[in-house]
Symmetry: C2
Subunit: 348 residues, 2 copies
């Protein structure tokens, strides 16, 4: 296991992002920032088809913003929470792009960025990353029938309804053409190990994932990665998991309190939407990164970001068998590069 | 979408492989070639834990053969058919190696090799690929309770019980140290698009996957890839899918008849074990590649191989909703390199 972060072999820029969200997300603090919001059914007769449709729309938005067609993209990295990742399989069928399926639970967005950036070393010019989640598909698959309206525990997180898509390009011309004064560039990759601390409470994913996030962040720091000059954005630990992460790192002498935010705490306003411990799901960090963090980075109001995608690895059968819930967390450093700098470097 | 195959940025060798199989597989034609065979329970109280245990054992065998410990491996690429890929999550927990979860159904073994080889361009020195399937976990998850003993259709394939692990290394010293006169080297990568031809019969995965395999192989040929000088090894189309693949390609003027074999047709002897259309599952192609094809390549009795992993993207909910079954197929070219050649190139 390499102790230092991996560095993309060629510069990799996130040249466009698209976000598609549900109605509850539309009412949240980021509601006005999403590219498209729907009524949670998105014109389809099942929740599963609705989730697939969000992926289709999100990638379509990215292609439109980039003025590209599908044949100009080399690879798709996609995944979701639905069994066998079918939201990605069905949602992206319309696009003729080679499809590499990922499963990292809620860390899938970060995992896709990490692998997309690695692929640039192998002459992949442009890769797209697409992830999604839907409250209703996740609820009935992992927990209860949606109609049942079961009472939720205080530590439970609310699965976000939404999809995010990102275009990764190693082309400096793509980077110069994209929106904003600054271009987000993926500068470091630090994949995480699975970590199991014996959590068995399916209503407390934050506690299951926080040890994995702490493991990744402390290994990153030990390998020379810098924590002090970047915002640490985890996704999605929620209130419970964020507190545990801060405590676990403090016990190792690492204080991230000031620098840390969590995507699960940014999607809903606790004053108006009580979702208990916050939001979660592959769509949550994708929405927050696409609509808020990367958008702010393009404007120059956000500097370096350590995006730490966190996933809880569980299913309904494992819960019935009393299995614990391992977590995993992948770190991607994203740094703003000014357009001016790119133009001087030869992009025009 | 690039029309030409991607080439690993640095040479990538498959320096070791490990195979762990169940009792029915042990009785098949490759039975004596597996590194370890068990009684399908592998000492565990559930089928799911047994499948995870096979992954743990398979990677352990690869580490032992390579005389390496987990901390000397940079990345794990792992996946399986169990919901949320939990066989990989639990099976590989003992190893402290960054874990990237994949879902490509039965194409996962090829997908892992493809991504592992791409990662070499990003200073990843060694990556492991691990996949598995288990008849009982798959049967009860996708079809019927195992005890039900439902009658199977003639086109149905039998999910293999087994796990395969592979060590990919870009180090010439690792390559020179490994077993055999020849070292398998990954020379071309050609990821596949999802293809949906409207198949809805969950007992005919071969028909669902064959169009994806045909699409990948014909695009590979159109992009300059050579089919005539390599054995085309699909995994796992079975008898039904293999016939469809040959016909589909013939209609495009491509004749692979002589060159084609399928992992699903190699695991069981139809004379003694009637599994209808053959074997399938993430474990099937992993077992055949690890115990037979790559082993023969090391001895010099097999030349270039186009390993075309095929996956059917479906789940129980989609079947109930009447959804079709898209397929996907990823191609990896593996070529033998003689030890002599490697030594002359500086490995000692």
């Amino acid at each position: 296991m390499q102790s230092k972060p991996f560095i993309p072999a060629r510069p990799v820029y996130i040249t466009a992002a698209g976000s598609v969200a549900g109605s509850k997300e539309k009412r949240g603090p980021l509601g006005d920032l999403f590219d498209f919001c729907g009524d949670d059914r998105f014109g389809k007769e099942t929740w599963e088809k609705a989730e697939a449709e969000m992926q289709r729309l999100a990638l379509g938005i990215v292609l439109r913003k980039s003025e590209l067609i599908d044949s100009e993209i080399d690879l798709l990295f996609a995944g979701d929470l639905v069994n066998q990742c079918l939201s990605s399989a069905f949602g992206l069928l319309d696009y003729r792009i080679p499809h590499l399926g990922l499963f990292g639970a809620c860390s899938t967005c970060a995992e896709g960025m990490l692998l997309g950036a690695m692929a640039a070393g192998c002459a992949v010019r442009r890769a797209a990353v697409v992830t999604s989640s839907h409250f209703c598909t996740a609820e009935r698959q992992f927990r209860m029938p949606v109609e049942y309206g079961g009472q939720r525990a205080p530590t439970a997180q609310w699965t976000a309804t939404g999809a995010g898509a990102f275009l990764l390009s190693s082309g400096i011309r793509d980077a110069v053409r994209c929106e904003g004064e600054f271009v987000p560039r993926i500068t470091e990759l630090f994949p995480g190990c699975t970590v199991d601390r014996g959590i068995t409470d399916a209503s407390n994913m934050g506690a299951a994932m926080a040890p994995a996030a702490a493991d990744t962040i402390s290994r990153y720091a030990a390998g020379g990665g810098s924590l002090s000059d970047a915002a640490i954005v985890t996704g999605d630990l929620g209130a419970e998991g964020s507190g545990i992460l801060v405590d676990l790192l403090r016990a190792e002498g690492i204080d991230i309190g000031e620098n840390h935010t969590d995507c699960g705490l940014m999607l809903f306003d606790p004053e108006t939407e009580d979702v208990h411990a916050g939001a979660s799901g592959c769509g949550c960090s994708a929405l927050v990164m696409a609509a808020s963090i990367l958008s702010d980075m393009r404007k120059g109001t956000v500097g370096d970001v350590l995006f730490v995608g966190t996933g809880a690895l569980t299913n309904a059968m494992a819960a019935c068998q009393g299995q614990s819930i391992p977590g995993v967390a992948h770190l991607v450093r994203i740094s703003p590069v000014s357009k001016q700098e790119l133009k001087e470097a030869g992009g025009n």
